[in-house]
Symmetry: C2
Subunit: 416 residues, 2 copies
């Protein structure tokens, strides 16, 4: 099974062409749990908002024409014949020569068509003096003037934040229909990988990738399902992947890909269904031994074993798919501009990603400082890298002090 | 109870001085649930990483001195006496004149101190020819060279993202000690406010704020507890606030503050304990009728009833407190630069916040377009505003085409 090493752009193009994000179904969820979920349908208003004509000020509901001509020097007198509070149906009508005390948000009583602000009045028992005329509808808000019944208020695909949840509440809805969360199977391969919580036998290391990748899946709007460390044997891996295909929307394995004779993953992916492996190795550094395939419409990623490489390739290639399956926009990773603290070299002919730590220097300039990512810095890199710098294939290096774009792997907020 | 209307900066300063973020306790949580939580203690490595000397390449483990002098023209021959795979304890020793086949990640067998890459060898049955000399330690990674046992790897206060969870997994930890999430009581006041899911009686509106604010609390790292709509009566509100104080870390009410005679909230806050109300009204627009108090160390916010005003004041003043209680950095809201689509006026002598919708114009310039926020646009604003522009007290307006900073209320990612 020989395949040409693809360039990063070729690999990404092939993946994008092959990937058809399909509808995973919807579910109904109560409002307070719906935060950060994606609407699966347009939401139409089931009522007029406001549901009644209401006052926008504290004052007196009147017939506007009764106030015409009123000013500082020539107040007009009306008789106060009642009060309307918020939350009450007004049990009162306003006739000519009458005014009804009203507070902000209360319904305008029948007969009235405007509200005089309390600041423009003086009251003595039942008599009200008005020092400023109002026009019809002044200081009132008509039923349905904010939102009309039947109007579309939120659109399919919108992510529910505080404002959108507020809109749903305004309609009196207790739940929302949202897209199902894509379920991603996470499994680890490699004879040296040991599950957490078990004592570490000689020659073994703990399973890092399943946990870092699972967290990155959550951050991308997916739900990881950890299938554990699969024994280093073709049958076991094939069986684990069949189980994963039957019960999840996407598979991400890590490790095993570059270990030569024992790398069964691509063969298994090919054997499980069409089209099988579509990307077998990418001319990037790090992350060269990345395999991407599809079984039917389900993507299957085999990420490298090195923790930083695995996470990097996840962010570059797998994350956009999870976002799309989740119905979310696939924007670029957040980025900041910084100055390179030292020369960063690229790997000949390979798109190179250099992990960096961000720091402010004495003159408050943001500095991108490369972090060791080789075999000797697996955990150090995870613990200290804030993001990565991308160097194109046709550039030899980024020079000291050169401005670079740093794509962020975590929030950089408040680190200053 | 007369208090001077404070400027926005004065109000913020008083709140900051009064607020002492206290330790809410810690809890132990399994790794896959710990995403986005805040570490409550420093994490020290309990093991050397790697836990053994390992090979960083596929090749042959040798004594380096046995290869000295080897080159293309003068290969040196060694006898292959075994294999070490990943995950195995090598049951073999390397003596002078011997080599052991080894793969990336496998432990270096006793006696060997370097690894010759497979590319630099030729093998015929048991005989290995080496075409390139290696120096001691070449292509190996020493036990503890990435992280030493006892070394600090993550610090108290770090937010757990994919990298940090990966680091915890590398140590074999199945759980992490994290700060407790601040619990924020949310209650609504106002006689016109109706709980969701119940039919809307005449004169009433649904409770929007409890839901929009609850979602904003979640987004700020807190856990909202909805105490419902409190009946419009002093005793009921006092009792609800006492319950909230006994069981939560902070209280946020909305509505009721500007409705004159029926606004008991400040009196109740004052009656519940020292120092009571510290901010009673702020010279901002919108959001003037905002009350902030403390009962002991617990903050009590009374936000305005208008949904956009309530959410805005939440973001400006309450969110930083929740972030601090949660042990998170309180950075500014995310912001983008945009050009004003029309003149935006400020309210005389008040810090003014103008809600805007962001759009790209035909030349791909980002435009900030003001959204109606008055009484007549409550829901429309929630549904369409992407953020807000701040106009200082001493400026009359922002001019058309002027560059403004738009603070984002939701993710703007991918909207282009």
């Amino acid at each position: 099974m020989f395949r040409k090493l693809l360039s990063f752009d070729e690999a990404r193009k092939i993946i994008q062409e092959q990937f058809k994000p399909h509808f995973l179904g919807e579910e109904e969820i109560v409002l307070l749990e719906a935060s950060n979920r994606v609407l699966s349908e347009n939401v139409f208003s089931t009522l007029d908002i406001p549901p009644f004509n209401r006052s926008t000020v504290d004052g007196y509901a009147v017939k506007a024409q009764n106030t015409f001509g009123a000013d500082e020097n020539a107040p007009i007198s009306l008789r106060v014949c009642g009060v309307v509070n918020v939350g009450e149906e007004p049990g009162i009508k306003v006739a000519n020569g009458e005014a009804v005390e009203i507070v902000t948000g209360a319904p305008i009583p029948e007969g009235a068509d405007a509200v005089v602000m309390v600041e423009d009045t003086e009251r003595e028992n039942g008599e009200l003096r008005i020092f400023s005329a109002v026009t019809p509808n002044e200081n009132t808000m008509k039923k349905g003037s904010d939102i009309k019944k039947g109007q579309i208020v939120l659109k399919k695909g919108q992510v529910l934040g505080s404002s959108e949840i507020g809109v749903l509440a305004a309609l009196g809805l207790v739940s929302a229909k949202v897209l199902k969360i894509p379920i991603v199977a996470v499994l680890s391969t490699g004879g040296e990988v040991n599950e957490l919580g078990k004592e570490l036998p000689p020659g073994k290391i703990y399973d890092i990738n399943a946990y870092s990748i699972s967290t990155a899946i959550i951050e991308s709007g997916g739900k990881p399902v950890y299938l554990g460390v699969v024994p280093d044997d073709k049958k076991a891996l094939s069986k684990a992947m069949q189980t994963a295909l039957a019960s999840t929307d996407m598979i991400i394995t890590s490790g095993g890909v570059s270990v030569g004779p024992k790398d069964y993953t691509p063969q298994i992916v090919d054997s499980l269904g069409e089209p099988g492996v579509v990307v077998y190795g990418i001319a990037v550094k790090p992350g060269k031994p990345t395999t991407v395939g599809f079984v039917g419409e389900k993507p299957v990623f085999s990420l490298p074993g090195h923790p930083t490489s695995a996470l990097l390739i996840f962010y570059l290639l797998a994350r956009p798919m999870i976002l799309q399956l989740a119905g979310r926009p696939t924007g670029d990773l957040k980025s900041v501009k910084a100055a390179a603290s030292s020369r960063m070299f690229s790997a000949k002919g390979r798109r190179t990603f250099v992990m960096v730590k961000l720091e402010f220097d004495q003159s408050c300039r943001l500095i991108a400082d490369p972090v060791e990512t080789g075999a000797s810095g697996a955990i150090t890199t995870l613990a200290s890298a804030d993001g990565f710098v991308e160097i194109p294939e046709n550039e030899q290096f980024v020079d000291v002090d050169q401005e670079v774009t740093v794509f962020l792997l975590r929030g950089f907020i408040g680190k200053a």
